[in-house]
Symmetry: C2
Subunit: 363 residues, 2 copies
């Protein structure tokens, strides 16, 4: 069974769907692994390292004629057409609602598996790419904040006087938010965190941060551990009550994303204008409209002395480990997709396992 891993083509995307280390294990399990020449370079994995791992480094076309095509990001039009009938395509497909591109692939006889549809059950945890990549985003967002912040994060006692620790607020305590809290605490910041789901308080506190508690009159806990959208009334109240906490913050990391919905606006222009000059907002939801009114996707802006960072692809800024984790997610998924045979691994019926069944894009 051939696995094809083409180079990612989306602008700025540095990840790759497998690494030499993971590929080596796949080869040992009987897969033929084909990686496009140069596919790993931006993630610091050289062609020579793949070759050493038993991978065949090939031209782009050969990857698309494999039995399984593994990618990180949504297929381009060209890529969707290149995947041949009878094969399986797996990536973050980044689709919401009707999706003609993916429907066409399915109609052409491709089984399309969406990594973001991974069910949130414990059996699937090791395959959950949203989770593994969010973890990296949370870490990198804090490094980004520290690099834009004109002051120390930790408290400093020096002979030239002392500096107070940065007051850092994390909005959203999912995987990204929790890792942001942990990283900011490592760097010595005073951390506060807010999430609409009350059950996150304990996790926030266990990482050494202070949970911000607001009385909204309703809970934001939705299905499957994700946040759900609040009523308009609760949203307005949330903004008002949060405002004072946020205006006092020196650094804000926002991670409040709701799948296939515009990101909730948690930071108004008025709040930004009340913040101390030199404060930094890192908006992890900038691609979905932003948690901050003023965020611009893929831009760093200065609004009256407050720096608002709208990068939209943090995992790609830590490409070696992000690729390693993603590759591991895929390889764990492959384990439940195939069964061994004398002639190597053979594809199972993907509708039979609840995990792959949930991931399959319907016609």
């Amino acid at each position: 069974m051939k696995l094809g891993i083409p180079k990612e083509t989306l602008a700025g995307e540095r990840r790759v769907a497998t690494t030499p280390e993971v590929a080596k294990k796949l080869v040992a399990k009987g897969f033929e692994v084909l990686v496009e020449a140069g596919a790993g370079v931006a993630a610091h994995y050289r062609d020579a390292a793949y070759t050493e791992a038993g991978v065949q480094v090939v031209e782009r076309d050969a990857c698309f004629s494999a039995d399984l095509v593994l990618k990180v990001r949504r297929p381009s039009d060209d890529e969707a057409r290149a995947v041949r009938s009878g094969s399986v395509y797996i990536s973050l497909v980044e689709g919401c609602g009707d999706d003609p591109l993916l429907s066409r692939m399915v109609e052409n006889g491709v089984q399309v598996l969406a990594m973001e549809r991974m069910p949130r059950i414990s059996r699937a945890q090791s395959m959950d790419a949203l989770s593994s990549q969010s973890n990296i985003a949370g870490y990198r967002a804090v490094i980004e904040a520290a690099s834009h912040y004109g002051r120390f994060f930790p408290m400093m006692m020096t002979s030239a006087g002392s500096a107070k620790p940065a007051r850092l607020v994390v909005l959203g305590a999912g995987v990204a938010g929790l890792q942001a809290i942990a990283t900011a605490r490592r760097l010595g910041a005073d951390v506060l965190a807010y999430d609409v789901r009350p059950e996150t308080k304990e996790q926030i506190a266990s990482l050494g941060a202070k949970p911000i508690e607001l009385d909204l009159g309703e809970s934001g806990a939705g299905e499957g551990g994700y946040a759900k959208e609040l009523s308009d009334e609760a949203k307005a109240r949330q903004q008002q009550l949060l405002g004072d906490e946020l205006a006092k913050a020196h650094v804000i990391i926002t991670t409040a994303l709701i799948p296939c919905r515009p990101a909730p606006e948690l930071i108004t222009t008025e709040v930004v204008e009340r913040m101390r000059t030199g404060s930094v907002i890192v908006d992890l939801a900038a691609a979905n409209g932003g948690n901050c009114k003023l965020s611009e996707p893929d831009q760093v802006i200065d609004h009256q002395g407050v720096i608002i960072v709208g990068h939209t692809n943090y995992p790609s800024m830590v490409p070696a480990d992000a690729s390693a984790f993603y590759a591991k997610n895929l390889s764990n998924l492959l384990e439940i997709m195939v069964e061994p045979s004398d002639s190597g691994p053979v594809l199972r019926d993907l509708t039979e396992d609840e995990i792959t069944a949930a991931m399959l894009i319907a016609r």
Copy 2:
């Protein structure tokens, strides 16, 4: 007595020689403080904050007609000419050997005090700008390294597998090096450090890093706590013995600077080429020729997959705290330069105190 603080004019310099907080104390002591309009903006200090602190926000010329002119960086030709006879000029003058610009100022009747000539005695510690700014550079260098490194610094145990901590080597255990060690440890890296002065071993170990020990046949301890230049033979041996340690590093922060001498070359091209792809070298000595053969001042280069960062002004990348510490250094220095009188502070004879005497530029 008037203190004039002009806006810095050197390209990329964001610091300012006083902050509203420090200025307020100077005003309380009877100084008239004049700050050029906009001088603090790049360091996140607004004109309005200076005004509130009792500062007069003025045009540029007014700053240069003050009794004392306080700056961060070396004066430009225009600035040197603008300082009037009979006044005192203080900044990092960044001069080595013969310096016609400074000589002319002295000949014109200006008393020029060089902040980098601060004697290394305990009485002067709170005035030592090289030290306060190096501390900031060491911190910021680690943030910079983390932002360029394609992997996590800390060890990560996740459901998608684990990541090992980054192996980080700090070269030079002066103020910058020790702060780099402390910051990298905070972020969870495994840290090793090397310095030619054997007495630094204990300090390195006390921060949780492992001292690298090499047998060079001579000590690099120089006068006043600074490092001295090694013999050619000892240098060659150092390079060879260090080579293996460095080639294994994932991140290197180099801080080996010798005042008014080219920086020692500690990382050869051969060593860079033995490092893992995606490794990062942050060269704090890039302005003085670099500790790494391949460093380019103010550039980030990629040499066969190794990223070499040559920024030359890290304190300016943390401008709010760097300015605050520098302003504090100056204000502590001013305390020994003046004596109170009924008409406010009066300048003392600067040749009488060993500190100011050591800082004075001779004709």
